[in-house]
């Protein structure tokens, strides 16, 4: 179902063609990074820290180097020292430890050998002498008075402090008068919420192949959300200039934010350089869970005040977010995401902490789900206390264009009201709650971003086209690029081949993140197509012997208008490309931009759940999501983003958690024990695409990747409250945790 406001009629945009990269993916031909093999290729393995925090006293690689098949061994000493003020410092240290290991699983050394078994055996034989240091494993431990330092290189962001600290960042947002706001409030609710680290859970482990030549140049095949970032980060960590590295994007087996950083490429390049042979380096699932990107743990104390009439007047609180082993601004992002309701009075303190768990990394609308858990639970309680419909309460307070976010920046044109109205009129909302079940409702918001993109569009001799971008396709963006190009050129979408090119074959493009690919890279594609149309008008003018002003572009063809039009047939793209040699040469256009005007996206979710009061098991009977896409370029993949984000949020809400033992070792580092939703855990996820076009994009695109993960946690918490009367404030809402709360009732 699509809920669409009046918009132009499109021929291709909004249709559901088969994606261009689909065939290779259903036949097993698609080449993901670990599927690549090169002649003479070595396999590599990494030695990882068994301690959460320790000083590296010495590393002895001699035994490993003497083992069968071993061709190269590297340690932190094989990489240049990087100043702690350098922006690449933290990622460099995270790739391979130098003086201290900062979490259990931190890379210390790596081995390349003829076979993977040999590399793994040698990685175990690297002798590392450690001096154990006190480990910080939680937000509470990090902020305790007199706490030992988790990472001596951390300086607190936004404060100017030059001393090491367990505070990663400290910031705050204020408006109005919070004290007066609470004094005047008729209803006040206040709670503390905690969440634990969760993983993005992409099914493809990190992998790359690197081939360094004797000329000192390296080629890398990478699984990444941004191969230009792989190039720049790898170059910075190696101390190389960018032109020495070429990165080719392999197909990427899921990222969700977790492949916006790098872990392997500098190590693989150095091993390849030392061995003089190509090196494949891939993580095991255990390594993925122990050493890559959790979304941060959080602890949020929040208080909201409202009037009896249902005006949300005041919000105040403190948000702690862990950043794992290095500094970061996850807490600030969390506070920034509080942007859905007008709240004339607001005071939010955002405090990031550092500890000895893996360095956190972006996960789909990073930091927003934790904040929404707190805000949307308390708003639900206010609706309950006032006896108001939860959607009505939100409609009364929902932000519209011009209202401020927590940061104070005014919202551009947004579709929050339309999204709320769409779910209010859904079949689900207007159906009775099933016997014994509870119904929960919550909303979510994400900013979306623009950033830099490049695109080249080549017209081929027969009038087909190739669309070349630098945005790795993590959810169907090639199909979106082709659809927008088809609409512009008036060319069938399957006469267009969209590809993602390597770093030497297309202009610089930022990472696929922030729901930006279809928005920003799509704009570059549209601009390149528009330039091509101008060129084709000029060529048509030459062919017809008329002035270019007399040539219009109508329905995918050049049409001569005015007095000269008589007897002049329209010239199709194929007609024009067939004569390209005679009219000025090949037809190609390139566009690049730093996209402004990203359109925020709001979502509203509705769930009916059954809670087994004997086991604490939560079963979702029905789930519906409405989300403002701006314009859905390929609605099937927009729905896919909404459904996938919902499922990840459901997993986060109900089951997923890192379990660390007292010494900081992750005890559930496998897909058996880190429990992501499987098909039998979920119901169908009904989708309502709302389309309030973003005026800053030629087709109104907002970007849809991220917002869908924001509402599920509070949606399910509110549903559990409706079913049981118990307010869940700590994640995950797994059977033992739910049962404990029910028994405390």
């Amino acid at each position: 179902m699509t809920d669409t406001e009046a918009r132009p009629t499109y021929k291709y945009v909004g249709t559901r063609p088969i994606r261009h990269d689909g065939l290779d993916k259903v036949t097993g031909k698609a080449r993901f990074a670990a599927d690549l093999n090169m002649t003479g290729q070595l396999r590599a393995a990494i030695t990882r820290s068994p301690h959460a925090h320790a000083r590296i006293v010495s590393i002895d690689t001699s035994a490993a180097e003497a083992m069968p098949g071993v061709k190269a061994v590297v340690t932190g000493a094989d990489f240049p020292e990087i100043d702690i003020a350098d922006p690449i410092h933290d990622e460099a240290v995270n790739n391979i430890a130098r003086d201290e290991v900062l979490y259990n699983g931190h890379a210390v050394a790596a081995v390349a050998a003829t076979t993977l078994a040999q590399a793994r055996a040698a990685a175990v034989a690297v002798k590392v002498e450690y001096e154990e240091l006190p480990a910080i494993l939680s937000i509470d431990e990090a902020i305790a008075d007199g706490a030992p330092l988790a990472n001596p290189t951390t300086r607190t962001l936004f404060t100017g402090d030059t001393e090491p600290s367990n505070f990663a960042s400290i910031g705050q947002f204020e408006r109005g008068d919070v004290e007066a706001g609470f004094a005047a409030a008729d209803v006040i609710v206040e709670r503390e919420f905690t969440t634990v680290p969760v993983h993005q859970g992409y099914i493809e482990p990190h992998a790359c192949v690197a081939d360094c030549g004797q000329d000192g140049k390296a080629s890398i095949w990478a699984s990444s959300q941004g191969h230009f970032a792989v190039r720049s980060k790898t170059a910075a960590i190696l101390g190389w200039s960018t032109d020495r590295i070429k990165v080719t994007p392999a197909e990427i087996g899921g990222g969700f934010g977790g492949k916006t950083t790098i872990y392997l490429e500098p190590i693989a390049v150095r091993l390849s350089q030392k061995a003089g042979r190509p090196v494949k380096l891939a993580m095991t699932r255990e390594e993925v869970l122990r050493a890559t990107g959790p979304a941060p743990a959080s602890k949020i104390s929040l208080k909201i005040g409202a009037t009896n009439e249902g005006e949300l007047t005041t919000l105040a609180g403190t948000m702690y977010y862990s950043n794992g082993s290095t500094k970061g601004f996850s807490a600030l992002t969390g506070a920034m995401s509080v942007a859905s309701y007008k709240f004339p009075n607001l005071e939010l303190h955002a405090i990031g902490t550092v500890d000895n768990t893996p360095k956190s990394v972006a996960y789909r609308a990073p930091s927003a789900p934790q904040a929404a858990f707190a805000v949307e639970t308390l708003v639900d309680e206010i609706a309950e206390q006032l006896g108001m419909d939860p959607i009505e309460l939100r409609l009364r307070n929902a932000v519209v264009e011009g209202d401020p976010t927590a940061m104070g920046m005014p919202h551009p044109k947004i579709g929050f009201i339309e999204t709320l109205e769409a779910i209010k009129s859904s079949d689900h909302y207007n159906s009775p709650v099933p016997e014994g079940a509870g119904r929960g409702f919550a909303t979510g918001f994400w900013f979306n971003i623009g950033e830099q993109s490049s695109a080249t569009v080549n017209l081929n001799e027969d009038g087909t086209a190739t669309v070349i971008t630098g945005s790795p396709d993590i959810g169907g963006s090639r199909a979106s690029m082709a659809l927008m190009a088809a609409e512009e050129l008036g060319l069938d979408v399957h006469r267009i081949t969209p590809i993602v090119a390597d770093t030497e074959s297309v202009g610089f493009t930022d990472i696929t993140e922030g729901s930006r690919a279809t928005f920003a890279t799509g704009m570059a594609v549209v601009n390149a197509c528009r330039e091509l149309i101008e060129k084709m008008r000029e060529r048509a003018a030459v062919i017809r012997g008329v002035d270019v002003d007399q040539v219009a572009w109508i329905g995918g063809a050049a049409v001569v208008e005015g007095p000269a039009s008589e007897g002049s047939e329209p010239l199709t793209i194929a007609d024009i490309t067939a004569q390209a040699k005679m009219t000025g040469g090949p037809l190609t256009a390139t566009a690049s931009l730093n996209a402004a005007g990203a359109g925020p996206s709001f979502a509203a979710h509705l769930a009916d759940v059954l809670v087994d009061e004997e086991t604490g098991q939560v079963t979702i009977l029905r789930y519906t999501t409405a989300q403002d896409a701006g314009t859905a370029i390929h609605p099937a993949y927009v729905e896919g983003q909404m459904q996938g984000g919902s499922a990840q949020g459901i997993g986060w809400a109900l089951n997923e958690e890192y379990i660390f033992n007292a010494s900081g070792e992750m005890e559930n580092a496998s897909f058996l024990d880190y429990r992501m939703p499987v098909a039998s855990d979920l119901p169908m996820i009904e989708t309502i695409i709302v389309e309030v076009p973003n005026p800053s994009h030629p087709y109104g695109v907002r970007g849809v990747g991220e917002t869908g993960i924001v509402p599920p946690i509070p949606t399910l918490a509110n549903a559990i409250a409706a079913a049981t009367g118990v307010r869940m404030t700590d994640l995950p809402m797994s059977p033992p945790n739910v049962l404990k709360k029910i028994n405390e009732k």
């Binding site: 993901f32 099914i203 897909f671 992501m676």
Partner: protein, 161 residues
């Protein structure tokens, strides 16, 4: 000295011979010895199903089998599902229904879904969900996958009538 075992089996209809170390999994043999990289390693512990293959028609995780265990058996991977240049209805419907996003789990899901429909041509939604419960997908929320399997079942039943 590493022992290598001679293995003879049928893979996607072709008789093949290869040598495998004692510790080599069937998944690694398929990918590294036979060049069939359709089956993926997502976990190597039998939890994600990305390496699902058929052994004599039954779903197995290739990562949990030693290569030598393939001796004498008929192995089918995602590369063997299509009939020449005709896609299997599951493959075609997955394309049409947008039942894949990143595509890393797709080979294993297709293999498991084929095994289900081979044995149960009219599965309920619940039966499909349990048949695919060993195949993790992190992109789709499973919704479009379940719909696609339902649609493929309808098409296969129509074709067999």
């Amino acid at each position: 000295m590493i022992n290598r075992t001679h293995v003879h089996c049928t893979v996607n209809g072709d008789e093949v011979d290869f040598l495998a170390d004692d510790a080599t999994s069937l998944l690694d043999a398929l990918r590294d010895e036979l060049g069939l990289t359709g089956a993926k390693e997502g976990c190597a512990t039998g939890d994600c199903g990305a390496c699902s293959i058929l052994v004599d028609g039954a779903v197995n995780c290739a990562c949990l089998m030693f290569a030598a265990e393939a001796e004498g058996h008929e192995i089918t991977t995602v590369e063997g599902i299509a009939d020449g240049d005709h896609l299997h209805p599951l493959q075609q419907v997955f394309l049409e229904e947008a039942a894949l996003q990143c595509g890393i789990c797709t080979p294993g899901v297709l293999v498991s879904a084929k095994a289900l429909l081979d044995h149960n041509p009219n599965p309920t939604e619940t039966e499909i969900r349990y048949a695919l419960a060993g195949n993790l997908c992190r992109c789709t929320g499973y919704d479009k996958i379940i719909h696609a399997v339902q649609e493929a079942a309808v098409q296969l039943n129509g074709a067999s009538k």
